[in-house]
């Protein structure tokens, strides 16, 4: 079935290094993608989004890349900080009037001191 999923359940990086979190999606009708960060005991927090007519979008220390050819989405976090430790979810929304986001399973990013 169609799904949004993440390749790695856990990613550990050294503080100050860059991290890349990957996501694969299978719904070719998806036209909007979001990365959420979820800290323990909290709700998902919006990080950055991208529409299907774009390949790249940058925010503060974060970059999202979209490769529609292979249905791949990535989140790059530059100069990671301890506060970046969290579970990161990609979510997609497909066109055609759908309202709900389909979330992936999440990648737990651990920042090592």
């Amino acid at each position: 079935g169609e799904s949004v999923g993440l390749h790695l359940p856990t990613l550990s990086v050294q503080e100050g290094d860059n991290s890349i979190i990957n996501c694969a999606y299978s719904n070719s009708a998806s036209d909007y993608f979001i990365w959420y960060k979820q800290e323990s005991g909290k709700g998902p927090q919006f990080i950055i989004d991208i529409r299907s007519n774009m390949d790249k979008r940058q925010g503060q220390r974060v970059t999202v890349l979209l490769n529609k050819t292979v249905k791949h989405l990535s989140l790059q976090i530059a100069a990671t900080q301890p506060g970046d430790s969290a579970v990161y979810f990609c979510a997609e929304m497909h066109g055609g009037g759908a309202d709900g986001l389909t979330f992936g399973k999440g990648t737990h990013l651990i920042i090592q001191p």
Partner: protein, 114 residues
């Protein structure tokens, strides 16, 4: 910064009982959502609500579930007869515009059915 607020933060209920989870969306938002997250699993869409009616619902959102906007500020999720498998974190979210824009999530209500 405006935020979505949910109450209670934790609800324990006996199987078969009705529960109402409450949410106050961001004031200028028009679209409201409920999601749930079973422990250790991904966040799942339940329902979206706009203009006082459901605009989309998932297959999880069966007849045991209902949503309501009883006044100008609250948005509620009711589960009529809770089952053990309803135990999860329930997140309310709201967005200013329809699908394809940033949805802001509340902190969630942890529902435990015993």
């Amino acid at each position: 910064e405006p935020e979505v607020t949910q109450t209670p933060s934790h609800q324990v209920t006996q199987m078969g009982q009705e529960v109402i989870l409450r949410c106050v969306p961001i004031s200028n938002h028009l679209y409201f959502y409920w999601y749930r997250q079973i422990l250790g699993q991904k966040v799942e869409f339940l329902v979206s609500f706009y203009n006082n009616e459901i605009s989309e619902k998932s297959e999880i959102f069966d007849d045991q579930f209902s949503v309501e906007r009883p006044d100008g500020s609250n948005f509620t999720l009711k589960i009529r007869s809770t089952k053990l498998e309803d135990s999860a974190m329930y997140f309310c979210a709201s967005s200013e515009y329809r699908a394809g824009t940033e949805a802001f999530f509340g902190q969630g209500t942890r529902l435990t059915v015993v």
